[in-house]
Symmetry: C2
Subunit: 289 residues, 2 copies
């Protein structure tokens, strides 16, 4: 990898690469890298796979870590198993985004789904993760039920009505290609593409550093769905570690889910973690009251 080809979030010091994640101009997180495995400009964004000392291999989009070999399991299990267990019979599952293939792989651990549509706008993300990030994307062929559609999730949800049991919105941050995945028009389309007892879940950013996005997401979904629950996980490679997810449902409440259905083959989630993730700290209860 030649230094001159690289965007300026990569730098070289004493013959070693470092990556700098710039958070709102007030926090810069520098990670020492063993190597930059691949780095390319796709049609939508800069896509890199790096090998870091602290997190192992990472997918980096436009200079922001999206998922890592170390903790990708935490994020992907929490965004997938919670809705899969909340819905008693999830036949048709939609994943929007999730180009690292981690969410689709977690959904594949369940027998109920007949089809898993993964709608990712950027084929380069999928290709690079499948090639260089097997800890998240899996090895060998993907589950036969997974249909990867390289298209805009915004368009896809406009084309479907009353079709899916579950929609998992596994987006990057609301900058670049993912911006509109945080808007009411999109969530309205998601609601329409869900069956009458369907549910959706989205990552809703850090309750500490992006409280406004979390609350806007929560409040928008409250206008569209009768049951809306925030839940939490810790993703060490995300700034602040604490991360929120929002589940919005037409019928089934995760607080009443049959947790015996939870898959046992996980690294992070178990019945206690599932239940505990909905026990919000006081400061978050105040935000949403």
């Amino acid at each position: 990898m030649q230094n001159k080809e690289l965007p300026d979030f990569f730098s070289k010091k004493e013959n070693e690469f470092w990556m700098t994640e710039d958070e709102r101009g007030t926090m810069k997180l520098n990670y020492r890298l063993k190597n930059i495995i691949s780095a390319k400009h796709s049609q939508y964004q800069h896509v890199a796979i790096v090998d870091s000392y602290d997190f192992g291999r990472c997918l980096v989009l436009d200079g922001i870590i999206q998922t890592t070999a170390l903790d990708g399991c935490i994020y992907n299990e929490m965004i997938s198993h919670v809705p899969l267990v909340t819905h008693p019979n999830p036949q048709n599952v939609l994943v929007i985004g999730g180009g690292d293939c981690g969410a689709a792989n977690e959904v594949s651990k369940y027998d109920e789904p007949q089809s898993i549509d993964m709608v990712e706008i950027d084929a380069v993300v999928v290709e690079e993760c499948r090639k260089h990030l097997p800890e998240v994307a899996g090895q060998g062929d993907m589950d036969k039920r997974v249909n990867i559609l390289y298209k805009d999730g915004l368009v896809h949800v406009k084309e479907k009505t009353d079709h899916y049991d579950i929609a998992i919105i596994d987006s990057s941050d609301p900058v670049g290609p993912a911006t509109k995945l945080f808007e009411k028009e999109f969530y309205t389309d998601v609601s329409r593409c869900l069956k009458e007892d369907g549910l959706m879940v989205c990552q809703s950013e850090s309750p500490v550093f992006y409280r406004d996005i979390m609350l806007k997401t929560f409040n928008t979904l409250k206008e569209l769905f009768p049951i809306v629950r925030l839940y939490l996980a810790v993703v060490p490679s995300y700034p602040g570690g604490l991360w929120s997810f929002t589940l919005a449902s037409k019928k089934y409440d995760p607080l009443n889910a049959d947790l015996t259905r939870l898959c046992k083959h996980t690294k992070y989630i178990n019945q206690g973690v599932f239940k505990g993730s909905f026990n919000l700290p006081n400061f978050m209860r105040e935000y949403i009251e």
Copy 2:
């Protein structure tokens, strides 16, 4: 504050201060500062209070953030309320370290303690926090039950036998003055200074980045106490966010605690968070099995 007086974890760029926290040489966390409020060399370490954009005011010891206005409450509530509620009648409470006064303040929220001995080696830490970090250290006089003793915690626990109901080991990382607070000899002394139904709690570092310290602490305490429980909180200003605490007890099990005794005046902990904090993710269960 003149640049030339400052240690090299502070830097100035375009007329603004930044602070760099160096984690194991593989991760460097840079925080933009509104101001450096105070910075001095004590007998033991460099002690600074800074005002950061992301966390508000912070106590920084030898270049490592110890506690912040934003999330000091999380750490201090978790290290204090969990033992205070686990012990049904905590009369004599010991805090080792905790120079930011946050743990002592949380203990003071309970009526049962008759005396709260806070044994901090470095008077400068207490003075600076009392002066410049009221969000953690509190305002006005401290509770009359708090006795601040400026001495080495290692010495203090050798001088006491069968005296305390609870010992809270609120140490910094196991480098510098706190190194010996992570060793078996110290925990043996702590056990002896506790009453026959006493219990202790310590911060036991990040399960992700300092797994070895966490496991060593857990296993050492298992040799000394019949009941040892790991529990978790998220402290966004600590690397990776996820943080472990270990409670070691002669008689009372936190899993059987009467949670109705939990203080209501908290920002983070509540009954759900207390219970959820002991629900360890699968990867941590595997570590300790």
